[in-house]
Amino acid sequence: MDVQALEREAQSAFAGASTPAELDEARVRYLGRKSPLKQALREVRDRESGMSLNAARERLETAVTAREEELGRAELDRALAEDVVDVTLPGEAQRRGHLHLITQIRREIEDVFLGLGYEVVDGREVETTRYNFDALNFPEGHPARSRLASLYLNGDVLLRTETSPAQIRVMESREPPVYMVSLGRVYRRDTPDATHNPIFHQVEGLAVDEGITLADLKGTLLYAMRALFGEEREIRFRTHYFPFTEPSIEPDVSCFLCDGGGCRVCRFSGWIEMGGSGMVHPALYEHVGYDPERYSGFAFGLGLERIALLRHGLPDLRQLWDNDLRLLSQF
């Protein structure tokens, strides 16, 4: 028997098989029990021809396995090629929840100030006039003290009109350094309209330490405004008056819509008013027992709804209290 010729013939039969069935047929013919090769192996007597027959058999078996894998892979490819989905069909529906827009903004601000090393303090919402006004240096006769402006529970208890009473409570409780922000609901007797609601949210920040400057306030607000409104923002200071700060400053942020060129949102000035700020008035230090010669500090306050309205173009902040899923799920 010509082993070499047989092997050549078998190899070409395996290679020529185009389906698993053809390959199987060829495998039975050349490697099956009744195949000439197997018969020859059974009949072989001398060691030399045995070794050469066995080597041929091994090569052929390897070739069959390889061809089998090739054909199997081709079969799979063909099947997969036919198994097509319409990729534009929707996925399996998942219910998705949303944080309220104000919470999202609140977290952003908290994270900015956590990054700057501030702690977050939740103050009380029902406060005494001592913490809400007296300790913050509101003079007798200041309009905010009026029952026409604030919501009183009785003569000296009211719903806080800003979150800064928390600052007094923290300063009373310990010596500087104090770096804190307080965020939450505040209450004023405002007639509801597109930009007012009797309940709204503020963030107020306080930093008291040795050597705090007005420049530190400017830098801090710049950092915060860039985090909220984009890296290109600039900050401008305008003088103002608040009882609890001296000097008092109103910070403006450069308009993020027109980049300072002037548009409806910035009332064609290129600048948007962001709230109030200033250097902590020494009367507050006297109230909490800090030494105003040793410590200085700054404070600032911003409205969260105002940020929402400006940044997202919301036309009416009362919508934030409607809790309509169609609106809440936009953000």
Binding site: G97, H98, R107, R147, L151, D209, A215, L325
Partner: protein, 761 residues
């Protein structure tokens, strides 16, 4: 405060355009709301179309009885024919003329036109058409001496720019043109003119009788008498100034008082001298006293109201509004001019009490410098004499000790230090001096008009800082010994929010203020905003029910809402107990709520312990449960129909149980053995009771879960089958079949003993 630019420039010769002045004021002094232009537009040579004219002929229009036909010399050689509807003038009158092409203040463009068949080659103007006055009765008659053809703009303030300034309450000195001029002089480093007003010679001595019975409420009362007052209209320039300043011209006397208030910031009042009985007394109102004010309203006075009275009755609300009976009127020939000073809080209270806010009260309530009264009186006197032609015949100035100029210690280096910008001491000195402060060594004397506002070193730091705000650099505090972190409660609140959002819940914000009557224990507001916002809430759930209901009405689906906020419970102390709560409302009934509450507990690594509870008014009576620190259940259909799950948890109670740290358990090294066991028990038994016992007897238990509850043919009546999926696992070894059988037998035996439970085959 409206500041006409021409008026401002009378006190400081500033060349900068209005926009530049506005920009600098806004940064350093006071907000400038806008810059407006009033009067005749100054564009494309428009002012050239307005001329002084002399009427050469005037007669009835041939085709219209109501019109006059005039020939007017406007300095062109040839006179013009102009048709006019007014009759308050005749030939020889000097008038204001607009020529064809002129754009009037109201935007109308004048054309050469035919009126009733006759050409009108221009228009003779009234005050109101030029916005120089309110008189619409006829055309404006000008002084005879004015030459025809003179550009009208050279003779009259035809139009100008006005700064509309919003001042802060600490700066009443800026509620005056002179006060703004002082700021502008500082901003542009210009010379400020001396304050306007010089007393003419006092010819006679008719000293008015003035008595101040309440020197705290009225530190100063300066009164002046004028005789032979020819009451009438003010000259055009004065009317124009008042209009530009936002006030209506009334009569020369009243206009002068208003002019002085706008110029200097000290409100004045003029009484008809003949109506004053005896003399002036400044006192608090008597019991039952009444006063009819200038607006014609009869008002009952409060004993706390400060009034100006004569020897018989109250004749004016001090600083707020004059009385009708003593008002200056047409027949008035002698007046008493009041230049006083009033204490702010009393004026504020009176104005609040009577709902009366006036230009005067607005200034007094912020605190006017008592030294200012003399200057204001001088300017008023000068004007009454020179403009109105009155005779000044008497003067009295009653006051105690007027406040001294405060003295403040000031360290320029401290200012630089606080601002964070090195400002040379010399520059600081100049800034302060320009504003009227006097420096001597480290001592600063504050000008009287800033005495209320500046009392500390830091107030002077502000004076220095506000002129350099743009130069302040951007730095961050050099922090020490501080790091930022959320408190445990804040961190856990975020965890709960995230768990719920992950479950598909959306966060709602609902009102802290609710109607009364929901909870008798709620803290009520004595003066609520509305009946709907009259008490502090004691639960979050009602707001969420309302929110869910709104969403249903809106046609939204997959409604699942939560809120984390505070409730306010009576505490027995003056401040209520504010507690953070978490509440939710969801589709899917009891099981929907329970699934969420289970997930929340899992998120906090807490075991959920639950017991059957009374539903109360909120919940379905058969689907209500109590939790540690809260409740869950299905909403009572009367509250919200359709099977809604709901819960509310008290976060302090929940968080108190949260473990400080979660300890590692080996759940990977050795496999768990899973088994399903079904027990037949009495119908009334709660699955939770079964599960509790299984946990108790099998410490190797890794998980136990009820996966089926069955009642029906396969079990005897009055019994139910509860199927449990249990898995056992040891962190130390692989449990053998033998071990599993032993545990299982322990469970089966105990359940049989406790509940008569039979294991179903």
């Amino acid at each position: 405060m409206r500041v006409p630019l021409s008026w401002l420039r009378e006190y400081v010769s500033v060349d900068a355009p209005a926009s530049e002045i506005a920009k600098r004021l806004a940064v350093s002094s006071a907000e400038v709301e806008r810059v407006t232009r009033i009067g005749v537009p100054d564009e494309d040579g428009n002012l050239g179309h307005f001329r002084v004219g002399r009427v050469l002929e005037a007669g009835k229009h041939p085709n219209a009885d109501r019109l006059q036909l005039c020939r007017v010399d406007v300095g062109e050689g040839e006179s013009r024919q102009i048709v006019c509807g007014a009759w308050n003038f005749g030939a020889g009158a000097t008038v204001a003329v607009a020529l064809p092409g002129a754009v009037l203040p109201d935007g109308r463009k004048l054309e050469r036109a035919k009126l009733r068949g006759t050409v009108s080659d221009g228009m003779i103007l009234s005050e109101s058409e030029l916005e120089l006055g309110a008189d619409q009765g006829g055309i404006m008659v000008l002084p005879e001496s004015w030459e025809p053809g003179t550009p009208l703009a050279d003779a009259l303030p035809l139009g100008e720019e006005v700064l509309e300034i919003e001042t802060t309450p600490n700066r009443p000195d800026l509620l005056s043109v002179y006060g703004i001029a002082r700021e502008v002089a500082s901003l542009f480093r210009l010379e400020l003119a001396a304050p306007p007003g010089t007393d003419p010679r006092l010819a006679e001595d008719e000293t008015p009788s003035i008595e101040i019975r309440d020197p705290a409420g009225c530190p100063r009362y300066l009164g002046r008498v004028f005789q032979d007052v020819p009451l009438g209209p003010s000259p055009p320039w004065l009317k124009a100034r008042l209009l530009a300043g936002g006030m209506r011209p009334i009569s020369n006397v009243v206009d002068v008082t208003n002019y002085v208030m706008l110029a200097l910031g000290n409100p004045l009042h003029a009484f008809d001298l003949e109506t004053i009985r005896g003399g002036i007394v400044v006192r608090r109102a008597g019991a039952g006293e009444a006063l009819t004010t200038l607006d014609g309203v009869a008002r009952k006075l409060d004993p706390a109201d400060l009034v100006i009275a004569d020897h018989e009755r109250a004749i004016a609300f001090a600083g707020v509004m004059g009385g009708e009976e003593t008002e200056v009127r047409e027949k008035t020939t002698s007046i008493l001019l009041e230049a006083a000073n009033f204490e702010p809080v009393g004026i504020l209270r009176t104005s609040e009490r009577h709902g009366l806010r006036t230009e005067g009260s607005n200034r007094w309530e912020k605190g006017v410098d008592p030294h200012l009264a003399a200057q204001a009186a001088a300017l008023a006197t000068e004007l009454l004499v020179s403009v109105a032609g009155a005779r000044w015949s008497g003067h009295a100035d009653v006051h105690g000790e007027l406040p001294e100029r405060p003295i403040v210690r000031f360290r320029p280096e401290r200012a630089s230090e606080l601002i964070g910008l090195e400002i040379p001491a010399e520059e600081q000195r100049q800034t302060l001096e320009r504003l009227g402060f006097e420096l001597e060594g480290d001592v600063v004397r504050v000008p009287t008009w800033r005495a209320r506002d500046v009392g500390r070193e830091v107030d002077l730091v502000e004076e220095v800082a506000r002129f350099r705000l743009a130069d302040v650099p951007f730095t961050l505090p050099r922090r020490r010994e501080m790091f930022g972190r959320l408190s445990k409660e804040q961190r856990l609140r975020r965890v709960l929010e995230d768990v719920l959002v992950g479950l598909g819940f959306t966060e709602a914000y609902t009102s802290s203020l609710v109607p009364t009557g929901q909870d008798d224990g709620a803290v009520a507001l004595p003066e609520p905003l509305s009946a709907e916002q009259a008490a502090l809430r004691t639960t979050l759930i009602r707001g969420l029910v309302e929110a869910a209901s709104r969403n249903i009405d809106a046609g939204n689906d997959e409604i699942a809402l939560f809120e984390i906020a505070r409730v306010y419970l009576r505490s027995g102390e003056s401040l209520p107990d504010e507690r953070w709560r978490l509440a939710g409302v969801t589709e899917g009934g009891f099981a929907g709520a329970k699934g969420a509450v289970e997930a929340l507990h899992a998120g906090l690594h807490l075991e959920l312990r639950i017991a059957r509870a009374d539903g109360g008014v909120l919940l379905h009576p058969g689907k209500a449960a109590a939790l540690e620190g809260g409740w869950l259940g299905e909403l009572h259909p009367a509250l919200l129909a359709g099977g809604w799950g709901a819960w509310e948890l008290d976060l302090a109670e929940l968080f108190a149980r949260v473990p400080e740290r979660v300890a590692y358990e080996d759940v990977v090294s050795y496999p768990a053995v899973h088994q399903d066991l079904a027990f037949v028990v009495d119908d009334g038994l709660l699955a939770g009771e079964l599960v509790d016992v299984v946990r108790e007897v099998a410490p190797e238990l890794r998980e136990v879960r009820v996966f089926d509850v069955y009642r029906g043919d396969q079990v005897p009546p009055g019994r139910q089958s509860i199927a449990l999926h249990v898995s056992f696992q040891s962190p130390e070894r692989t449990l053998s079949d033998e071990d599993a059988r032993e545990i299982r037998e322990r469970i089966v035996a105990t359940l049989a003993e406790r509940f008569g439970a039979e294991l179903r085959a």
